[in-house]
Symmetry: C2
Subunit: 133 residues, 2 copies
């Protein structure tokens, strides 16, 4: 992985808060794991380290995914969309991506007009986290 070059940084359209949404996708299965936010620093660190680092809006600090739980995301490729305002992270997810202990965060679906849970908890959150990851 290289460092963040101006060519990439210049192509990213950050919002008023300096953030851009980033979708994490399991690189080999195509499973969409989660969506979170990145700033320039977290993008640079992600490219430098090869481990995904987001920006936590609630905690207002860099959020090294898995820093508490060990459920890290190894970066396979960082992609940018046509408008430069969304990032797609192709990753290799260790364990579960969701803080609820499910493999991905999109475990509720509209079926028959109701919102139903479609995925089971695979890891006990209490064993993974001291705090929400």
């Amino acid at each position: 992985m290289g460092v963040l070059k101006p060519t990439l940084l210049n192509e990213i359209k950050f919002d008023a808060d300096g953030l851009v949404p980033a979708i994490a996708q399991q690189f080999d299965t195509g499973e969409v794991l989660m969506m979170a936010w990145m700033n320039a620093d977290s993008i640079a660190e992600t490219l430098r380290s090869g481990r995904v680092c987001y920006w936590s809006r609630s905690r207002q600090r860099l959020w090294r995914k898995g820093e508490t739980s060990g459920q890290v995301q190894a970066l396979k490729e960082l992609r940018l969309d046509c408008d430069g305002d969304t990032i797609l992270l192709q990753v290799d997810q260790t364990g579960v991506a969701c803080h609820t202990g499910r493999r991905n965060c999109f475990y509720r679906a509209v079926r028959g007009g109701d919102l139903v849970t479609i995925a089971e908890v695979e890891a006990e959150p209490g064993e993974l986290y001291g705090a929400k990851d």
Copy 2:
């Protein structure tokens, strides 16, 4: 498809502009096609019609995907994430999702430290659009 029930609407955390990001994924291949924004009206219409309708932030109006180009997205399933602030749309994309004529919008990748184009134009934008879709 049913109508938008309060149970779903109540679970969605819209931002200050009344919007929520929505990821569109090809339901059978897992390809992430694009990310756009929805408001309550566009979600209700999408569930009612079975065709994906976004909210265009630039045009400030409902954006029925494919209304100009014919490159529509048939809804297979609408999913909501753990925090209720991101939607995953599993769709069947007709033709190409990206206004550049590429199958998906994430056609630029960081490789060797540079941002490179990794997907070809499959449909001529001039033939698809009078205006950007």
